[in-house]
């Protein structure tokens, strides 16, 4: 091959090879940055995980390590023994997540479908009715009191999901989804064929909008699973704690006991939840979500981009 031909080939590579790629050296450099970023991301969770599968003795002697010095699964068996607070917490969180997800998908799905219909007479009013709640809130004090006493949510499983079951933000996402993925003609032709509104919705619209429902359902599931605030505000009895609040309380109590150990004339240390036990609590709290999320990543990405681009 002549020099000229080589030169030409090289030139055509940069010009036409669609992306005019970065040089190999820069690529290596960027990869190193990304790997460092990934280590930074995984590191804190990794330490928690490793601590949870280390034996208690090794952990107190050697501290947090990157690799278990002495492997032990005791913390996990202890975690799910009979009558453990974690079993109650898991049960409550699961019930709340399932109910909350179903409820929010149905209510948001219905509400935003009506808003997406141009022939809905009160469309403007109900759009504003939900949108206004994004702008102004009644404040924590009256929310707190109304939920607890007037609505009777105090110390119930309902407190863990009902307040989280509807959000104006999802209505915006879902309405955008209907508008861009369910063609007007399809609905119109169903109507001409004599189908009622409900039948059109269930038989025609729902199958087309499933990716949208999946997005709302997944965000809602994460929201309820990770919720800490509703439980903090509304549930006082440990019988109705969810996972996040249970592990928060464990850590908080431990700090309190440590701080006041001298004042209370020596606390029996063996009664405190052990380090590995607490780390195992954190692992089972976050585990299912981290395992499941990569499979649903595209829905999350969709939900985040749609919502941000157009309100």
């Amino acid at each position: 091959m002549t020099v000229a031909a080589k030169k030409k080939e090289k030139h055509s590579f940069t010009a036409s090879e669609a992306r005019n790629l970065i040089s190999k050296r820069t690529n290596v450099f960027f990869n190193i940055i990304m790997i460092l970023g990934c280590i930074f991301t995984v590191f804190p969770l990794w330490i928690i995980f490793i601590s949870s599968i280390t034996s208690e003795v090794a952990l107190t002697t050697y501290g947090y390590r990157l690799w278990p010095i002495e492997f032990s699964a005791n913390a996990y068996t202890y975690l799910f023994r009979d009558g453990s607070i974690m079993i109650t917490a898991y049960k409550n969180t699961l019930i709340a997540t399932v109910c909350g997800t179903v409820l929010s998908t149905v209510t948001v799905g219905l509400y935003s479908y009506a808003l997406s219909r141009k022939d809905f007479k009160y469309r403007k009013f109900f759009t504003f009715f939900s949108f206004f709640t994004m702008l102004f809130s009644g404040g924590l004090v009256s929310y707190y009191n109304i939920c607890r006493s007037f609505l009777g949510l105090k110390d119930t499983v309902y407190a863990l999901f009902l307040p989280l079951s509807f959000s104006a933000y999802w209505v915006i996402i879902m309405r955008t989804f209907y508008n861009s993925n369910v063609p007007e003609e399809v609905i119109e032709s169903a109507r001409i064929d004599g189908s009622g509104e409900w039948r059109t919705l269930i038989q025609i619209v729902v199958p087309l909008a499933i990716p949208g429902y999946a997005t709302v359902a997944l965000f809602s599931a994460i929201g309820v699973w990770n919720d800490f605030r509703q439980c903090l505000l509304l549930n006082d009895s440990s019988e109705f704690y969810n996972l996040q609040y249970t592990i928060y309380q464990t850590m908080n109590n431990l700090r309190f006991l440590k701080e006041n150990a001298s004042k209370m004339g020596g606390v029996n240390v063996s009664n405190l939840p052990s380090e590995t036990f607490r780390m195992a609590m954190a692992v089972v709290t976050v585990g299912p979500i981290i395992m499941a999320y990569p499979f649903f990543q595209k829905y999350f990405i969709k939900g985040l981009t749609v919502g941000a681009v157009k309100g």
Binding site: N20, V108, G138, G139, Y143, W225, N226, F300, V309
Partner: protein
């Protein structure tokens, strides 16, 4: 409409009936949502009058139509005190506003640089598959609750945590992070970076991939380096999205990430000066306040936050509408 009805062999009257029926169906569809909004968003709104009252808890007399202590106390027995509750807040306000607004500005700035940077890096990597793996990993913390972050932080910065172990290994002094104020702005910022960089990059990444390749090719032919391409092609095109997101963030500048500010300090009282934001203050006052009128004070702080937030959102929306009408919220 009418013509279609005739073609379909239905009389206009039937069409009208169908329309009423249709409106009814739509109303039925919004009903569940309306109930939720009423219960959790609209019902608490009248309670804001508490901000101007001295809360006097009174159990409603038997037979009174409204058997709810809170509502009865707020609307019937509590006395108006004008702006007294707000005056009470004046001492705390500078610290709270400094923390809330200051942290938000810091997070916005750092977040912007890192998120755009990450998006560009992911977009430029030669191997698409590894790029995707990197992003999947860095997006993950978005799904980790702040409570678990609190656990992770504890393993890192507690007195016998990882960082102190490393410090002592190199002969340094141990640091008591949970009682030293100076570290916390850093800790919060790093926590925010950890949790939101991967998620924040998504919107920039989505915008980047939509750009016209030909611009870059033309740039490359003209001899623009990759940096120049970023500076003169990518950044200007990304600007509208950047501006939009920053303006939206300004609209939320009085709202803090309650879960983070509340949980990460692990209840350490000495840190209050640097960890307390308006949201946390409202909660603390409401829940643990030993004050006689803690409901009134917390209500006033929350109302202040709501009103300022409301004004900010309206203002920022007006600004967006002026510059980019199709991106305005309303």
């Amino acid at each position: 409409m009418v013509a279609k009805g005739w073609l379909n062999g239905r009389s206009p009257r039937k069409q009208m009936a169908g329309s009423t029926k249709r409106q009814f169906a739509y109303l039925l569809m919004v009903l569940p949502g309306v109930l939720f909004l009423l219960a959790f968003a609209y019902l608490p709104m009248p309670g804001t009058v508490l901000s101007f009252k001295f809360y006097q808890m009174t159990v409603p007399p038997e037979g009174f139509w409204l058997q709810d202590t809170f509502l009865y106390s707020v609307f019937v027995t509590s006395k108006w005190v004008g702006l007294e509750n707000f005056v009470y807040l004046i001492n705390e306000a500078p610290m709270l506003i400094r923390n809330t607004v200051g942290y938000n500005l810091l997070f916005m700035l750092v977040g912007l640089v890192l998120q755009v940077g990450l998006a560009v890096l992911i977009n430029e990597l030669r191997n698409r598959k590894t790029a995707k793996v990197y992003h999947t990993i860095m997006f993950m913390p978005y799904f980790v609750s702040w409570i678990v972050v609190m656990y992770a932080l504890y393993t890192l910065i507690s007195t016998d945590g990882f960082i102190n172990k490393v410090l002592m290994m190199f002969g340094g002094q141990g640091v008591k992070f949970y009682s030293e104020r100076m570290y916390w702005p850093w800790i919060f910022t790093i926590a925010q970076i950890w949790k939101y960089t991967g998620q924040g990059a998504i919107i920039y990444l989505a915008t980047l991939t939509g750009f016209d390749e030909q611009l870059y090719e033309a740039g490359a032919i003209d001899g623009a380096t990759k940096w120049q391409q970023f500076r003169f092609i990518t950044l200007p095109q990304l600007m509208p999205v950047i501006v939009m997101l920053q303006i939206l963030a300004v609209g939320r500048i009085f709202n803090g990430d309650f879960d983070m500010f509340y949980s990460l300090p692990n209840g350490s009282g000495t840190l209050r000066q640097v960890t307390q934001t308006i949201d946390v203050y409202v909660y603390d006052t409401l829940k643990t306040g030993q004050l006689r009128n803690s409901f009134g004070y917390a209500g006033a702080a929350a109302l202040f936050q709501s009103v300022v937030g409301f004004v900010l959102i309206l203002t920022t929306n007006a600004v967006i509408r002026k510059h980019q009408p199709d991106m305005a919220l309303f």
